[in-house]
């Protein structure tokens, strides 16, 4: 498959790889996808007292498009409010990276991951935001 420059750049120089303490109250963790489907994304956000996303980290098991999509959203969410971050659409990701049609679902996963991370943060911090949440984060059982 021939990929665009932006996608290759994010794949080769992924931004914000890493992990944050998932137990910290100012950190929200989203874990979406499944190994059997060939894609798992873990996206974490660190939220300031003012409700601004200060930092974001990701780890992704998936194709190049999935890695690039998650790298891109970590860049996009930084500095945004939760509501703003929650409004990011997979179509924007797909368009920015010029994803081929068969790779659209990789950008859907990135959108789900950010929503899941926000939902997790809201649940932990007890500060439910305005928007409704439709993506449930996967449960890490062995904690």
């Amino acid at each position: 498959m021939a990929y665009g420059e932006k996608l290759i750049d994010h794949y080769e120089n992924p931004r914000n790889i890493g992990a944050m303490d998932k137990h910290a109250t100012d950190v929200g963790t989203g874990l979406v996808g499944a190994p059997a489907c060939g894609d798992v994304m873990k996206l974490q956000i660190k939220v300031s007292a003012e409700g601004i996303i200060e930092d974001a980290k990701f780890k992704t098991f998936g194709c190049g498009s999935a890695i690039a999509s998650s790298s891109l959203v970590t860049e996009w969410v930084k500095g945004k409010t939760l509501d703003e971050a929650e409004s990011i659409k997979n179509t924007q990701i797909a368009q920015h990276l010029a994803l081929p049609p068969v790779k659209i679902h990789c950008s859907v996963l990135a959108e789900d991951a950010i929503k899941a991370a926000i939902a997790d943060y809201r649940k932990k911090s007890g500060k439910p935001g305005a928007a409704h949440v439709n993506a449930e984060p996967a449960k890490v059982a062995a904690e």
Partner: protein
């Protein structure tokens, strides 16, 4: 399942220390998909495009005779490679057509007495699809499961073959995982019940010793482009004693003893013959090299990486095929990292259907492991320097991708991935 390789050719610069070996990139490690045509083959073909261009079926002038001589020499060379008689070699357009001709042709001819076919779930798509078509025509087809090592369970086979079975079709060497099936034993089981035995030897001919007499093979499909010959030409071996009869798929001038009409593509056939001759003469030498390179690749990777799993039986395999699962690293993302090495993957992300390899699934390889598989194909033109470059590049990228893999992270933290309730999507 082919990778997109970088455009053009570049040469590795000496400033990259371990790769200061002047190797041309991209490197081709996809010899199961196809092979380059050996220059000696191309040389043999050329006169048949220009001066010896006659129609081999023209009986009345020297142009025809010359072309016919080229065809018959090639037929003898191919027959010699597999221990057959010249008259038993029927030219086709490739192994896809040979498999169709064998399965549909034999099935339809014997249908009144025998309307069952036995094959295996890990066969090439063209075998499975030809069988599906026969099912629509009322045949009963048994698709045998394989053992975890990719080999057929002979006891299961014995139970599946009945005195209604017309044909047992089992491939010689698997294209995805390289395992070699026990052909002689399978033939014996088919013959016990009076069924014919067909083998798809597209990945085996010219690579491993094959002898239709010794192995009691009744029909065998061969493809030239998998053995350093040109694309678009293949053969079906059809046994004469005892005679195997079949219905033709293509009707016309009655060439190839009525089994396959159409003017023979003489240059392709001459190239196919020369490729067979080279393969026969150099098989031992080629295989020794290929085995050495295959071991070097396998050991080189395993020395530096843990959790790398070889798919398919360790012993019963053609060493030019190494199918490895790099746990916790998705195959397509790895192929993207090692872009200047052309390989294939069993990952769903590389396939149009987004389904992981059915062959790996049939071995009981977990889906998550199937997504991490890469097939390395080593062949006649592969060099040690290329293998060393491949090892280095693969190790580097697997390490990098594991650092960004949430699964690798969890496993390092001692979390059992099976204990997690993954979200559906």
């Amino acid at each position: 399942m082919a990778t997109k390789t970088q455009e053009g050719t570049k040469t590795v610069q000496a400033k990259e220390p371990a790769t200061a070996r002047n190797i041309a990139l991209p490197i081709y490690l996809d010899y199961q998909a196809t092979t380059p045509t050996d220059p000696r083959v191309v040389e043999a073909m050329l006169p048949y495009f220009t001066t010896k261009f006659g129609n081999p079926h023209s009986r009345n002038h020297s142009f025809g005779w010359e072309a016919e001589e080229g065809v018959e020499t090639a037929r003898a060379q191919i027959a010699a490679l597999v221990g057959a008689n010249d008259k038993e070699i029927i030219f086709t357009s490739g192994a896809t057509e040979s498999n169709n001709l064998a399965i549909k042709g034999v099935g339809r001819f014997y249908k009144d007495r025998r309307n069952e076919i036995v094959t295996v779930v890990t066969e090439h798509k063209c075998v499975l699809d030809a069988c599906r078509h026969l099912e629509e025509e009322g045949f009963k087809v048994t698709y045998l499961a394989v053992k975890q090592n990719g080999l057929v369970d002979l006891d299961h086979l014995r139970q599946a073959v009945t005195d209604k079975t017309a044909l047992v079709s089992v491939m010689a060497v698997n294209n995805e995982i390289g395992v070699v099936q026990p052909l002689k034993e399978i033939a014996a089981i088919a013959h016990e019940k009076g069924a014919f035995f067909h083998t798809d030897a597209a990945q085996a001919a010219g690579k491993i010793p094959l002898d239709v007499e010794d192995m009691h093979i009744d029909l065998m499909s061969i493809s030239a482009h998998k053995m350093y010959g040109p694309k678009g030409i293949g053969a079906l071996y059809v046994r004469r004693k005892p005679r195997v009869r079949l219905h033709a798929l293509i009707h016309g001038g009655g060439q190839e003893r009525g089994m396959r009409s159409g003017t023979l593509p003489v240059p392709l056939i001459v190239g196919f013959g020369r490729a067979a001759e080279i393969a026969k003469n150099e098989m031992a030498k080629d295989n020794e090299r290929i085995r050495r390179l295959s071991d070097r690749l396998f050991n080189g990777i395993n020395k530096q990486l843990k959790d790398v799993v070889l798919n398919g039986d360790r012993e019963a395999r053609f060493p030019g095929n190494l199918n490895l699962s790099f746990s916790y690293v998705e195959g397509e993302s790895l192929m993207m990292g090692i872009r200047d090495i052309a390989v294939s993957s069993g990952s769903a992300c590389t396939s149009a259907s987004l389904e992981p390899s059915y062959v790996l699934r049939a071995l009981g390889v977990e889906e998550e492991m199937a997504h991490t598989s890469i097939r390395f194909g080593i062949g006649r033109m592969t060099t040690e320097a290329e293998i060393d470059y491949a090892i280095e590049t693969i190790v580097k990228h697997v390490k990098k991708l594991r650092e960004m893999s949430p699964l690798w992270e969890m496993v390092q933290e001692g979390i059992d991935l099976k204990s997690i309730q993954w979200s559906d999507h």
